[in-house]
């Protein structure tokens, strides 16, 4: 029997955002990455256009992190000793974007300085041609100092600067505006809070085409259902025409999954949890696929084995049957 599949005629479209700038565009990147532009729910290409594939970013640190799981340190090995070699290894592992997360103190325990942060960013820009996201260590005043220095030293590169939160966004937005960068806006798993922060940022005169939205998600087992539903609701709102939610979403399943005990540690856990490394990779990839299918445009991962699996799933999903 003939079947007519119900489809929605969505009035809204997610904004298209480009990260990175080539030499011709005022930067130094070998290539740029464009995300967003969806006219339908994730991968529903029988209904509407998905012009840009979701992309995988790999998170690296400015120095070897002490609090990361031994599995991750083992996977990156010597490369993790400095950000430039780590960025190269990440690119070789399949990263389409690099996320550099800055650490509060250097290896000797000295507090991070703007000069030090700029040096790390420049080293990464030298080492890879991929577009870059830079996240501060997460202390408002310090983040602001670092981001201003970084933004000025890399003017025109279209970096994504993070993290803007409702309590601390003005300085980062202002410096991104002055220096031709993007920002990421993070809110805790709530549609209205996400929307509110986007409004605050755009009220400063910052173009919406330069905001990535991080709705935060929780890991598998640690509240992922909240993130999942907040993201589905945000994307539905965007498609229904709510301009302040029409932003590509960046999520950090690598960070979320690897802070879960299930991934982080291998001893002193129940036997029923199974083999550590296998479990840890599943934890990261299952968190990621769930978020991709609720609307993520950029997924930031940590383990190279997860990157490979996730990229293969994304490539598959992008072959979904298209509208006639």
């Amino acid at each position: 029997m003939p079947i007519e599949i119900p489809t929605d005629k969505w009035p809204g479209t997610v904004r298209t955002i480009t990260l990175g700038a080539t030499a011709a565009e005022g930067g130094t990147r070998a290539r740029t990455v464009t995300v967003g532009g969806e006219k339908t729910m994730p991968f529903m290409q029988f209904e509407g256009e998905i012009p840009n594939s979701p992309v995988v970013a790999i998170e690296i640190k400015d120095r070897r992190p002490e609090d990361w799981s031994p599995l991750l340190l083992q996977a990156w090995g010597e490369a993790a000793a400095d950000p430039a070699s780590w960025a190269k290894a990440a690119e070789a592992a399949g990263a389409e974007l690099i996320q550099l997360s800055l650490t509060l103190t250097d290896a000797a325990g000295q507090p991070i300085t703007p000069q030090g942060a700029v040096a790390s960013v420049k080293a990464v820009l030298q080492a890879t041609g991929l577009p870059l996201l830079v996240f501060g260590p997460g202390q408002a005043e310090l983040d602001n100092q670092l981001m201003v220095a970084i933004a000025e030293a890399t003017k025109g590169e279209r970096l994504a600067l993070g993290i803007c939160e409702d309590k601390n966004y003005r300085t980062i937005v202002a410096t991104a505006m002055a220096n031709g960068h993007l920002v990421t806006a993070r809110t805790p798993m709530d549609v209205n809070l996400a929307k509110q922060l986007n409004i605050l940022i755009s009220d400063m005169g910052f173009p919406m085409e330069r905001i990535l939205m991080d709705p935060t998600t929780g890991a598998l087992g640690y509240g992922i259902e909240y993130g999942f539903s907040a993201m589905e609701r945000l994307r539905l709102a965007a498609l229904q025409g709510d301009s302040m939610t029409q932003l590509p979403m960046i999520v950090t399943p690598g960070f979320e999954a690897w802070k879960a005990k299930e991934s982080k540690v291998g001893t002193g856990v129940p036997e029923a949890w199974g083999a550590w490394e296998e479990r840890a990779i599943h934890w990261e990839t299952l968190t990621t696929i769930t978020l991709l299918e609720s609307g993520a445009d950029i997924v930031v991962l940590r383990h190279p084995a997860s990157v490979k699996l996730v990229k293969s799933a994304i490539a598959d999903l992008m072959t979904a049957p298209q509208a006639a």
Binding site: F43, P188, L309
Partner: protein, 446 residues
């Protein structure tokens, strides 16, 4: 789709006799549409109308229940496309497949281990739901033997997999008085398979490679008097499984399209790669499968899948909470530290597990934050200085301890000033943001 009040009104006698207790038939129809009254209170409604109304109020996805020896696995009865619209109801059954070509001793060992597999998550014991036995030998005797072996090693519900009715019949001989799923019926064998399902009171899997041919087949099988069907629309890639699963769910929910209003069965293991298999199974959980047949036997894969299923099927209308109060971890003494967190169950278990695992004694004060996690509760004003102070005072924490000092989560460091005002005489310490860092913090800073 449920009928509107006006559509129901047209099926009523329209005499306004008032015997139902409502002033007019239209008023009664409106109440019926809102599901606030039963049709049976109308003494004059015709049989034809009754049938039509019952049909329209039947769930858009038929409930299919597999049973054996006191176990039951239910799928179907779902009413929404997105869990935030209401909730998802019946968690998809997770079945592990064995092949009849494997040695009986190997099957026995595998099934016994999986049958006993049990993993605790937030106080709930999670297990696999049952097993699928697949005929690849093409031999009825071998298949029957494999089914017998599985049945001896586990009492959980089974899915029997063969397209050959004779092999299927042989397998069924080993299963008496239970409801397995027969997988399955296709365009060639459906009459014989439907007959077997009927004889044995089994559910039937229906296989086709397009939605159109699938709908044709379910209609033919329904005409034979079978209702408990499970559908396999064919797609095995991420893209196809997601597209077909979504299209079937939409047809059911939005159009009440009966020919496809059945639970979907998926086979992530057909990907042939354990990493992709787990991700495909995860996709099946969030996007609409009713039964999931995996090939992995690895706890490292089953555990995250069972947790994901638990998460996605949590009712968003009611967060899982633990009772607010003071929890004693590792037999604390009066001088041991007091930690504060919220009563969202996952938050509580994360904190409690970390502290318990460290072996360090502590008093864990769980404040009533209406079942929200620390950040969410803080953002919503449900975990502020006032609430924390209320918990400390209300649970008489001061009577149990000798040192008036509390540790609050790092995410709510901003509350420490206000808390000092709310709790005079107490020392307020800011702990780490994540539970996983608590043991180190307790060792170094307390």
């Amino acid at each position: 789709m449920a009928l509107s009040g006006i559509q129901i009104y047209k099926l009523l006698p329209q005499t306004n006799c008032k015997e139902c207790g409502f002033p007019t038939c239209l008023a009664f129809a409106m109440k019926l549409a809102a599901k606030q009254v039963e049709l049976s209170v109308c003494p004059y409604v015709t049989e034809a109308s009754k049938t039509q109304l019952a049909e329209s109020s039947a769930p858009p996805i038929h409930l299919v229940s597999l049973k054996s020896n006191g176990y039951e696995v239910k799928a179907g009865n779902e009413v929404v496309l997105f869990r935030h619209e209401k909730t998802y109801y019946n968690k998809p059954g997770l079945f592990v497949r064995v092949l009849d070509s494997e040695a009986p001793a190997a099957i026995q060992a595998k099934i016994a281990a999986l049958d006993a597999f049990k993993v605790n998550y937030v106080g709930i014991d999670l297990t696999v739901d049952g097993f699928a036995v697949a005929s690849v030998s093409g031999n009825a005797g071998v298949f029957a033997e494999a089914v017998k072996t599985v049945r001896q090693a586990s009492k959980r519900p089974l899915i029997l997999m063969s397209r050959d009715p004779q092999i299927m019949a042989a397998g069924l001989e080993a299963l008496k008085g239970e409801t397995p799923l027969l997988y399955g019926a296709d365009a060639d064998n459906w009459e014989a398979m439907a007959e077997l399902a009927k004889q044995h009171n089994a559910a039937l899997g229906v296989i086709a490679n397009s939605l159109e041919s699938l709908a044709d087949l379910t209609e033919k099988i329904k005409a034979k008097g079978l209702e408990d069907l499970v559908v396999d629309p064919g797609g095995r890639s991420f893209a196809q499984a997601l597209t077909l699963g979504t299209q079937i769910r939409r047809l059911s929910i939005k159009k009440n399209f009966r020919p496809l209003g059945f639970p979907v069965i998926s086979f992530p293991g057909d990907a042939g790669n354990p990493g992709l298999e787990a991700m495909l199974a995860a996709q099946s959980i969030a996007k609409y499968a009713g039964f999931i047949v995996v090939d992995t036997t690895s706890p490292a894969a089953l555990y995250p899948l069972l947790v994901l299923r638990q998460n996605v099927y949590t009712d968003p209308q009611k967060p899982i909470q633990v009772q607010p109060g003071v929890y004693e971890i590792n037999n604390p003494k009066p001088e041991d530290p007091v930690l504060v967190t919220t009563n969202f169950s996952i938050t509580y278990f994360s904190v409690a597990n970390e502290v318990e695992g460290s072996g360090l004694p502590a008093w864990l004060v769980v404040a009533d934050a209406e079942g929200m996690s620390v950040l969410t509760a803080w953002a919503a004003g449900k975990f502020d200085a006032e609430r924390i102070a209320k918990a400390i005072k209300g649970f008489n924490v001061a009577d149990k301890i000798s040192r008036k000092r509390i540790v609050i989560p790092g995410h709510v460091a901003v509350l420490s000033g206000e808390l000092e005002e709310e709790l005079p005489g107490w020392e307020i310490r800011v702990g780490p943001r994540e539970a996983v860092d608590l043991p180190a913090f307790m060792k170094q800073a307390l």
